[in-house]
Symmetry: C3
Subunit: 243 residues, 3 copies
């Protein structure tokens, strides 16, 4: 199974080209779009979102992860084997949170190169063919070599907004397990009370809850929390001190 | 074949997680996205749109239908077998129009529950696994039991806008078979004449026609009818009385 | 392999219906979405974008191409075999640039018709079934007959904006091979210098480069060139004369 996580934009011309490569090179692998509207150019938000989204990937899966504002520059391609799941992408920090949080992780440089490499679309020309090789168990042909990550954000949480969905729900980089539900979350200049679920609060009310990825999420019942609070990706969030 | 009809948003992080579950549990089933941008939180519009979109589903198909503002509350999951096609989703009215319009339909409560059920994403945790079971003919493991629907909108038409597409075409909940083309449709404060097809009217002109789902649709040739008339989901439409 | 190129909108209700038809009629063929947000109603921009996007299609693939403002009118359906790849769509110019640029191309009228043909959705009712037939090698059942194209834009470049992606990158109909990188591109009332790649310029700076499809593209490092220059599909671009 090959998972795709990118900022290529679902509606755009890029995802189809990546899939055509995967279909030619690994025709029996199911390809699943995890996200193509990761915050554009935002490697840090993407790294924490990717880590949360792929915490339960099946063993032997390969995740192609590309948020790559430095494409065509000197950042290297990298492959990480984290608890038995492959992650392939640019060595710019994007895969580093997964690597840091895994019980066991190995990092590899990628020696394989295509005959023709465009300056701007390594997702299609380099990362997709390597993902296809790894999905087929062909690690050798990918020419992997043990190496350290060049950029590493570490395993800690990120006290920022990392994603806003189309309902206006505001996803943060804070894992909810460490936050008691009685605490308020501070964002957009106010304190936001916790709840278990949407149907627990009255329509329009803003609250935070543990979302289905295990993250602190700020939401509003049948309304847009992002709009109500004026929040966007990158804005700071905090945990109010206990009373 | 498994069809998906949701308000999860195509561009968001939700559809991929549902597909990962379906791929693990029913790897041989084709999965087809019917719509992921159903009007958010709007169960009524969704119910009529779903009924029109799935009137021709192939026998033995399973449609996973989720527009579920009450997720995590006390609304129950439900499965409907309508003329030999399965529909799985929340018992909030969403599947009721299909059930009411079918020649033969049976309604079932769902006894199966996952080991871990998130508060906010039953589409992934409950409905997708049940859809996979039904697609594989495993009705028993889904623990179905005959029951009545808790919410039922009935089989009649809905005289409202139920969907606006990206061209700006305005889809209504009225089936066109019952509306003579000589009648005007009333919407946005004016009467709109009928036509057979876009190319029959001059560019920019607003008209109504029987769309490819058999519904009354208000459109404009090479322009946005929604913008021209200021129409949005939920707005009332009517049929002018005959002259 | 069947590729889809349309202006149906990824988020809308149309693509799923096309895929349901393909799945029923050619269940073993992989279906790949190249683009569903081609500029709406814009056959000319679509023709040049399609030609660039499909220059490398695999042999024996079938591309279903539908941008069809005249649907339901008297434009005919057409199939083109261009260097061993099939293209199916309306005979309104959309497939003509591919046909004109191919080393060897044959054009066919399509005699096959469905039992029920909607007035507005030939993509589902006519083009998809024919694409399925051709993908399965069933040219005879499609009832093809050699014919000339009714509308032909020819093989030359188009000095216009043909696509703006979600990053704000501005794709033109000019093939970059013919444009020396030292030349400026004129667009939005200014001259734009060339560069090899995003990471070569400072953040925010506007430049043009050869994109991954081989076209002249106007971009800005980590910013929207479309916004910076006020450019949209259809706007003229030019090549500054050499010094």
């Amino acid at each position: 199974m090959i998972f795709l996580f990118t900022d290529f934009g679902f509606r755009d011309i890029y995802v189809g080209q990546v899939k055509a490569v995967l279909q030619s090179r690994a025709p029996r692998e199911a390809v699943i779009d995890l996200l193509h509207d990761a915050p554009p150019f935002n490697v840090r938000a993407g790294a924490y979102l990717l880590a949360a989204l792929t915490a339960q990937q099946p063993k032997d899966s390969v995740t192609l992860a590309v948020v790559d504002p430095g494409v065509g520059g000197d950042r290297a391609p990298v492959a990480v084997l984290a608890d038995g799941r492959w992650f392939v992408g640019p060595d710019n920090g994007l895969i580093s949170v997964i690597a840091a949080r895994a019980k066991k992780s190995e990092t590899y440089s990628i020696g394989w190169r295509p005959k023709a490499l465009s300056a701007s679309f390594h997702g299609r020309d380099l990362f997709a063919p390597v993902a296809a090789l790894l999905a087929r168990g062909n690690r050798r042909q990918a020419r992997l070599k043990r190496a350290a990550l060049a950029v590493n954000f570490g395993s800690d949480d990120l006290a920022e907004v990392i994603y806003v969905d189309h309902f206006g729900n505001v996803v943060t980089g804070l894992r909810a397990a460490a936050v008691p539900r009685s605490r308020e979350v501070a964002a957009g200049g106010r304190g936001i009370p916790g709840a278990r679920v949407f149907s627990e609060v009255r329509p329009g009310a803003v609250f935070w809850y543990e979302n289905s990825l295990g993250l602190v999420e700020i939401a509003a019942h049948s309304a847009s929390a992002a709009q109500a609070l004026g929040l966007k990706v990158g804005d700071a969030v905090g945990i109010a001190s206990g009373k």
